[in-house]
């Protein structure tokens, strides 16, 4: 797993930021992408206000709650999003980009274990990365849609606080909703 981003393409807004993960890895990220993590954006803006920015060197922003593997995926996803500072494409270019993104998203999800989804959601929430959170929340919803109650409890670490007879009654009343469910 890479721990730095690729060489940047020369562009007018290639300001970079360095993010440091819980396992002490450093990620150099383009500002445009890093700003999609609102927590980072907030940190950066706070820094700008202080005199630290006057020093001119890149600040290292600590992310003690995010592991490197997770951050790599989130950065990768963030890069594929339409950039707010990008020049507007014509319709054809837009359609191509959309298709590419779809393909990338499908590939990404295929290789993800369900447990990793939880980590990604947790991190995206901590980073306040709205698009990432929405995307991975949808992916997790798709994953659990047809799962059993037991699977969901185990997956989310939820304790069953129903009395056995209460649960029994509910399952009888809504028996149709329990049919066609994936085997655990």
């Amino acid at each position: 797993m890479s721990n730095t981003s690729e060489n940047p393409k020369p562009s007018s807004s290639s300001a970079k930021m360095t993010l440091k993960t819980s396992d002490n890895e450093l990620f150099e990220v383009e500002e445009a992408v890093a700003m999609k993590f609102c927590t980072v954006k907030q940190y950066f803006e706070d820094e700008k206000d202080s005199d630290v920015a006057a020093r001119g060197s890149t600040t290292v922003i600590p992310l003690p709650n995010v592991h490197s593997a997770v951050l790599a995926t989130l950065i990768s996803y963030g890069k594929k999003l339409p950039q707010s500072n990008a020049v507007a494409d014509n319709h054809e270019e837009e359609e191509t980009k959309k298709k590419e993104r779809k393909k990338y998203e499908q590939g990404l999800l295929k290789n993800l274990m369900p447990g990793e989804l939880l980590d990604l959601i947790s991190a995206a929430n901590y980073l306040d990365f709205k698009e990432g959170l929405e995307f991975f929340n949808q992916a997790l919803a798709d994953h659990i849609q047809n799962k059993s109650v037991e699977y969901v409890r185990k997956f989310f670490g939820i304790k069953n606080d129903y009395e056995p007879h209460e649960e029994e009654k509910y399952r009888e009343e809504y028996a149709w909703a329990f049919e066609g469910v994936d085997e655990d």
Partner: protein, 355 residues
């Protein structure tokens, strides 16, 4: 890494789930029961939002109100004879009872009808064909208009002592250009299907639904016809101990976000009536009929017409006026219209007022 997720994130995840999953997951824990809520259209909880939002593949078409008057050259002469079938996606479907032809008319182009209409050629296959019914709608996936015609090929409906009707069903697509395509002719003999009254049928995105009354072999049921795949399916209704007898209580069909919805309301119209609104959360599963809400009799309403995007129900009151009922606030508001109102047809979020 802990799998603990904050509640608002869990709510966001759950908000992407369909009603069946949510109903099952109410059993996960009492916290989830409270988060998901009850399907009752009282508060905008997760399950209610799921019924309103998750299924729809396409946006609700804007409401189209067409006021038609018989005047020299505009709509065809038979418009005034009640030859309106239905409307969908801004196009009106009209039926010439005498010639048997079906016209599609775009009322927003207000010139002569014939120049703009597409004529679908529906030949009589035998001498005694009798058109029992016509359905019309726009299929978003096929990007095409569909017309379904029921023919009584033996003209048995005029025969006295029989409940059996020999019905043929034909499906027509408009197709690209001025098409006149005959897609399929299916023999419905085996299914012994009746063609029901006006309010008990509805179309949604390639599916026709209609209510069929009970007979020797079947209880009353909803029949669906998937005109893309040409497949019939059926779902029994809730027991009459729950919704009343079909000889005393209307079943009016509507569509709510791709789910079949049904209003149950008594015949007697001398006094004001109340309505029970049900939704079928999984087609084919009788137990998935879910009672959503009840509209009290004090609103003086008569007919349900169709659902709007946010769960509001468009209805006709006893004065013949259009009213929007909001189940979340249990209030109504009048929809202003000019001129006389005669009748409203229940169509896919379009209203047609015939004068």
């Amino acid at each position: 890494m802990s799998s603990y997720l904050p509640e608002e994130v869990v709510v966001n995840i759950l908000s992407h789930l369909p009603p069946k999953s949510l109903l099952r997951f109410r059993c996960v824990s009492k916290t989830w029961l409270a988060l998901i809520g009850t399907p009752d259209f009282v508060s905008k909880n997760l399950i209610n939002n799921s019924i309103l939002n998750t299924k729809s593949q396409h946006p609700y078409p804007p409401f189209l109100l067409v006021k038609a008057r018989e005047e020299s050259n505009s709509p065809p002469p038979f418009l005034g004879l009640g030859g309106i079938v239905s409307s969908s996606n801004g196009i009106l479907c009209l039926h010439d009872h005498f010639q048997g032809d079906v016209y599609l008319w775009n009322p927003s182009s207000s010139l002569q009808l014939l120049a703009l209409s597409r004529r679908i050629y529906c030949p009589r296959t035998k001498d005694f064909d009798y058109v029992l019914g016509l359905e019309f709608g726009f299929d978003y996936i096929a990007d095409d208009f569909k017309v379904v015609r029921f023919l009584d090929t033996l003209n048995t409906s005029f025969m006295a002592d029989t409940d059996f009707v020999d019905v043929e069903l034909e499906v027509y697509s408009l197709g690209p250009g001025l098409g006149k395509q005959f897609d399929t002719i299916l023999d419905l003999n085996m299914l012994n299907i009746f063609v029901p009254y006006e309010r008990a049928k509805v179309y949604d995105n390639g599916f026709f639904y209609w209510w069929v009354g009970p007979n020797e072999d079947y209880d009353e049921r909803i029949v669906s016809f998937d005109c893309r795949n040409e497949v019939f399916r059926m779902t029994p209704l809730p027991d009459k101990s729950v919704i009343g007898d079909c000889n005393e209580v209307w079943r009016s069909l509507m569509v709510l976000n791709g789910f079949v919805a049904m209003a149950v309301h008594p015949f007697r119209r001398k006094k004001k009536v109340s309505f029970s609104i049900w939704v079928l959360l999984e087609f084919g599963v009788k137990e998935s009929w879910t009672k959503l809400f009840r509209i009290g009799h004090y609103f003086d309403l008569e007919w349900p017409l169709c659902f709007c995007k946010n769960g509001e129900l468009l209805m006709e009151n006893r004065e013949g006026e259009l009213v929007l009922y909001d189940p979340f606030t249990q209030t109504t508001k009048n929809v202003q219209l000019n001129g006389l109102t005669k009748s409203f047809l229940n169509t896919q979020s379009s209203g047609v007022q015939a004068q």
